[in-house]
């Protein structure tokens, strides 16, 4: 098959995408306004348009728990859940089986297949980190998608290494001696990129064109791809259900959640807000940061702004560095 560059494959307009059947059935029990199912649906829109059947390995977490409560499943694709910490290892096995059965002529279907591992930030940044790193390093042909809602939401808002500094969680709550989580969030896409894999991206469902374009590239990538997706959690963030997309947009427009990709070692920021909004705009819509708006904590907001700036500058430097001529 002739190699077609991902950039040459255009996704049809939104209207056209509605012609394909929904692969994530309703009736799942994710919270009203959950960001994760929006991400999954947008991914399916891409897979449908490109003619891929997705085979999923889902880490324990909100999506897993809510979409497959026996005897119901919301999935219209092959889907497997193994445990919390091993989605990447599980998909490694599925992908290896695919290769083996293909070689031996025992595949039950000849459809175009892509393997997706899906996990929340708990199953990706923390407990599943070793399994993820192993699978990326081994170079399996799969896409790992993390729906990052910045805490263990399935079990009731416990902090993770994806939780931002000063967020209020149940395991590092705000109190007389505490302002919430004392550490900054781990920069996981950067860590994934350090594996030297062909494709890494950070996305937000609010910027669906960007998300779809990146998922398209991930699907067309041979070898491992990693996507970190901003996943609003109204319950855990103490935000309004209907404001999920608004908050997602603000995360991008404040540079809190930069949209970028690393394609074969070249870093590219895919959306550069002309006038980035101050971080307050993003924080104030979420109850988890409420305590920062007390007058005595104004410096903490400044600190968060500085961290945003630091990462943004770092990304810009990486972009400049990896795209130099010669």
């Amino acid at each position: 098959m002739a190699q077609v560059k991902p950039s040459e494959i255009k996704l049809p307009p939104l209207k056209k995408l509605t012609n394909y059947p929904e692969k994530l059935a309703p009736g799942h029990r994710l919270c009203a306004g959950c960001g994760a199912s929006i991400i999954i649906r947008q991914m399916y829109m891409v897979a449908n348009a490109l003619g891929y059947e997705l085979v999923w390995a889902n880490a324990t977490g909100c999506v897993e728990v809510c979409t497959t409560i026996y005897p119901y499943t919301s999935w219209k694709s092959p889907w497997i859940h193994n445990a919390f910490e091993n989605a990447a290892a599980t998909i490694s096995g599925v992908e290896a089986a695919y290769k083996a059965l293909k070689k031996k002529g025992r595949l039950p279907s000849d459809k175009k297949v892509k393997f997706i591992a899906l996990g929340g930030d708990g199953g990706t940044y923390d407990i599943g980190f070793q399994s993820l790193s192993g699978a990326l390093e081994r170079g399996h042909d799969f896409v790992y998608v993390c729906y990052d809602n910045e805490a263990y939401m399935n079990t009731g808002i416990q902090r993770s290494s994806a939780t931002p500094k000063y967020a209020n969680t149940t395991t590092q709550p705000v109190g007389s001696e505490s302002l919430g989580k004392p550490q900054h969030k781990k920069w996981l896409p950067e860590v994934a990129a350090a594996h030297g894999i062909p494709y890494v991206a950070q996305v937000s469902p609010s910027h669906w064109k960007d998300l779809m374009d990146k998922f398209k590239k991930a699907l067309l990538t041979e070898g491992p791809a990693f996507i970190n997706a901003f996943s609003v959690c109204p319950r855990g963030w103490r935000s309004k259900e209907e404001e999920g997309i608004k908050i997602s947009k603000l995360a991008v427009e404040t540079n809190y959640w930069p949209l970028f990709e690393v394609e074969n070692g070249k870093w590219r920021i895919t959306h550069k807000p002309k006038n980035p909004k101050p971080i307050e705009e993003y924080l104030k819509l979420q109850g988890r940061f409420k305590h920062l708006f007390k007058p005595e904590n104004q410096d903490k907001i400044r600190e968060l702004q500085e961290e945003v700036n630091r990462r943004w500058e770092w990304l810009n430097k990486m972009e400049e560095l990896t795209n130099r001529e010669g």
Binding site: A32, S37, I38, T73, W75, K76, P205, W208, E242, I245
Partner: protein, 98 residues
Amino acid sequence: MNGKSWREMPIGAVIPEPGSSEKYNTGEWRAWRPVFEAEKCVNCMICWVFCPDSCILVKEEKMVGVDYDHCKGCGICAHECPTNALKMKPEYLFREED
């Protein structure tokens, strides 16, 4: 309740029926209902692309309504609709009619 004998259930808790959650009615959860006014709709599909519950009903590339059996009433569709073709109204207004 499941209620089935262990002898009748598929082994290993495999679910061989894809998308069976459609039988589970999450519409019961709704406190607010998105009400669709077709005449205001420009079929931009913004509601469709953002719906977390696959509840925006589209036929032949036209938005035709909301799947109330499953819509949980999060309100994202109404909030994001650029033409106010969807509006959130309290569910009790409709439940009494049922």
